[in-house]
Symmetry: C2
Subunit: 500 residues, 2 copies
């Protein structure tokens, strides 16, 4: 099952550790040595409530230019180090949200600073090329040493893009092109197709669809947005496509107690997927591709079992739909494997895998047969940014050199164990602790309680993210050690102890 | 009219200059001093045909990873300077395409190199923030000193984005949100709206539309792509929206000889716009916004008169549609004004103006009343990239310090004059020379001839772009001087003289 990390042994050991989580008591790292990099600060340090006065003044200024309702505070990125984000009022917080999960190895990592000071790299920053027509000399080598060195199983081809939404949009287009080429037997498009596409009409712009899942988040440009179903605020007032939406399994926790119910729930969702594929084909809007996150993130950290994904992949194959795994948030090592879908144990897990965030560049991998048949079908001015590839190369070096995937697995176990302990201790407040690697989450009893816990924790120096309706999500960087887990749990414990 | 730069005086003077363009004769700058920056090389220098052997080997390597059909050659960006792009085979070309019009002040400009070596800037590169929730301290100041210092008339608000497509997608969303808020009288959305939007259905996802023009290019993500109508290869096989598409005026050249016909053509197009707005309202798909380029670029460098745009802006206002001017390619100074729409002479030219390319960051300006009413309605992880804003600030400094808009006007006049001379001399090959600033174009008699001229010119050290069906487009950077115009015209003249 999804939370297979939580073995029975672990469940027992966390019971034994419960006393550590009693109010007032402190988590102390016994097994792990303090492995914080030398460049990092070693603890939160708070000077004001957050946002402090300087942040509030800057909020007022920026409010003249933009809607600032989503801004938490203003940051001093120069002073931030490793896992610690410093704000403009001098508050230093343990950051387990990391710019919406997009800082791979902490703030101001020395390896990344070196990229900047290497004179050989300057030109890649000041001359951003149109990669699709005039790539730099080292472009194939850089792709091989960075993106292709971590390519998912079965994927030999990769296309860089600027951001997560662009990556998914172009992945969808790649699936549509592939699907229509199959349908027309790779023949030359008809004159009618060529003519009608210019005015947005079929058959040139065919009524194809992408099947997505309730609770999914795949981005906010209009193609992606038609597959995003996590929050109304993302979608309200924006025209969309009539594409099929399947239920995502709603698992009951603790997983060990609901094995049969959860298996039934997953079977129900898979049945619905097949029904929708048939129904949309009958409607004249065939499903060209299925898109899914290995863990629904924005939608509330919803997990499903490897068995669910394996069966879904088979359904896609059976019905001739491309299978697109969106690893924009789950990719880059945060689950303890480089790609979350590697936990499924398949040799042939997907046709398309998209990425962004921790990868610093957007893009997507795909199988050979999804290669567009002609140039300029998948294209834009920049097609990514080679300066981001330089940073990614260094990030991968650091991940390998410092065995960060093992660290993530170790820290993730400690974090999940701690969250289990907290929910056992505060069952009226917390429930459904879950996670893979450090990609962890826990639910509060209400959205108001969740928000209150987050604000109180922030004022004590712990900055967390939210998702779904009442979920706290943990998205630390890959340099998040057991030592930091204990800081996190101590602060959370203090907040919960005060929460009456 | 659009080509108002070409006064009758200019037409006469170019007749007088014709002798200079005779085969074998050379353009020599008489009035302009040689104003090439000291950091730049001073002429093309060719060692091989293009692509040379090294480019061909790299093409083979990259072909294992991506479709490489659109790649011209591989570049040595380190060795490129100013207006000269150097390839991996050591060929130095005068570049008047500049990475699809996205290099504002030439290659390796010293001012941009300095941004990289300033230690205060390092953190902006290595810690890319989630700008919508955790902006850096200097973010409001940087917006004020860069983007807002060049804000179009009537625009006080600006939102940065990663690329041109993202900018237009979010500009469309901004218009939809504004339109629906107007429709519902700024009341809270109904439960039915909130519920239905989660499954892509109306009323929550309303059947609103954006009116665009035949020949337009606004990007390739699925919302943008529904307003793009320049080439079938962009659109084939991709599902789209049933949105209205108006004809863009097809002006006859020389403009002086077809004043009445062109005015009638523009009137016909405007009438069609109004008809479509009414028709789509009746269809239940009201037009929330009109999007247009000041000069259709990708579609073939199609111009219309200021009078056309003024009337179009009035039609938008009359029908309650937002008016979105897409300056992704025309913006940034290339027409001799910072924004091409400034040539229309309106105090109130638009509701939304989008940009990217030469601006180095994507984004869009908008009027106060289009500000989204709630946070997270316009949102994504990165919301732009502050490191690009640093470069933009320097670009603006250089533009001001070196009076580059005046230079563009001067070089543009020389270029257009030269193109007129060439088309007079080679009337069987060239026609319809047109332009504003250095944003110039000329048509060949066929696509095959156009392509052949471009390849021959490239082998002589002049790298140009194409657009439309048989157009050569000139998109030099802003440091393109009269001296470079003469190099360009000499090479083109040689190619045409050999072309029989």
């Amino acid at each position: 099952m999804a939370s297979s990390l939580l073995t029975r042994q672990l469940a027992i050991s966390l019971q034994q550790n419960l006393r550590l989580a009693a109010p007032g008591s402190r988590y102390v790292s016994k097994t792990a040595t303090k492995t914080v990099s030398e460049f990092e600060n070693d603890a939160p340090s708070m000077k004001t409530a957050v946002p402090g006065p300087k942040s509030q003044e800057l909020l007022r200024q920026l409010g003249e230019i933009q809607n600032v309702g989503a801004i938490h505070f203003f940051c001093n990125y120069e002073e931030s180090r490793g896992n610690y984000l410093v704000d403009v009022d001098g508050n230093r917080m343990l950051d387990v949200y990391t710019q919406i999960s997009s800082i791979p190895i902490g703030y101001n990592h020395p390896a990344l600073m070196k990229v900047m000071t290497n004179p050989n790299n300057v030109s890649a920053f000041v001359n951003r090329p149109a990669l699709g027509i005039l790539p730099p000399e080292n472009f194939p080598d850089k792709l091989i040493e960075s993106l292709l060195s971590i390519a998912p199983s079965g994927m030999t081809r990769v296309q860089t893009m600027a951001c997560g939404s662009c990556s998914n949009e172009n992945a969808f287009k790649t699936m549509f092109i592939w699907y229509r080429n199959k349908e027309r037997g790779y023949a030359t498009p008809s004159e009618q197709e060529v003519g009608s596409c210019m005015i947005n009409q079929s058959p040139g712009c065919p009524d194809l669809s992408v099947l997505s899942f309730m609770g999914a988040f795949h981005g906010r440009t209009m193609g992606c947005l038609a597959t995003t179903h996590s929050k109304a605020i993302h979608k309200l007032d924006i025209p969309s496509f009539d594409w099929p939406i399947a239920p995502f399994p709603k698992l009951q926790y603790p997983l060990e107690e609901f094995v049969r119910e959860n298996a039934q729930e997953e079977a129900r969702c898979l049945e619905e997927v097949e029904d929708l594929i048939v129904k949309w084909r009958q409607k004249g809007k065939p499903v060209a591709g299925i898109v899914i996150e290995p863990i629904q993130a924005e939608g509330g950290d919803n997990h499903a079992s490897p068995d669910f994904f394996i069966k879904l992949r088979n359904i896609a194959r059976k019905h001739g739909c491309a299978f697109h795994v969106d690893e924009v948030q789950t990719g880059g090592g945060t689950t303890g494997k480089f790609w979350a879908h590697e936990h499924w144990g398949l040799d042939d897990p997907a046709d398309v895998v998209s990425f962004s965030k921790k990868m610093l560049t957007g893009g997507y991998y795909h199988r050979d047969e999804l290669q567009p048949d002609k140039p300029y079908r998948i294209f834009n001015t920049w097609m990514g940014d080679p300066s981001k590839n330089l940073f990614l190369s260094e990030v991968l070096n650091v991940i390998r050199r410092e065995n960060l995937l093992e660290e993530v697995t170790r820290s993730g176990k400690a974090l999940l164990q701690g969250l289990y302990a907290l929910q056992t201790q505060y069952p009226h407040i917390l429930s459904r602790a879950r996670g893979q690697g450090t990609f962890c989450a826990i639910d509060a009893c209400s959205d108001a309680t969740r928000d209150s816990i987050m604000i109180k924790a922030r004022n004590k120096g712990l900055f967390m993210g939210s998702c779904g309706e009442r979920t706290i999500r943990f998205r630390p960087s890959l340099v998040f050690k057991e030592y930091h887990v204990h800081q996190l749990l101590n602060i959370l414990n203090d907040v919960l102890a005060e929460h009456k």
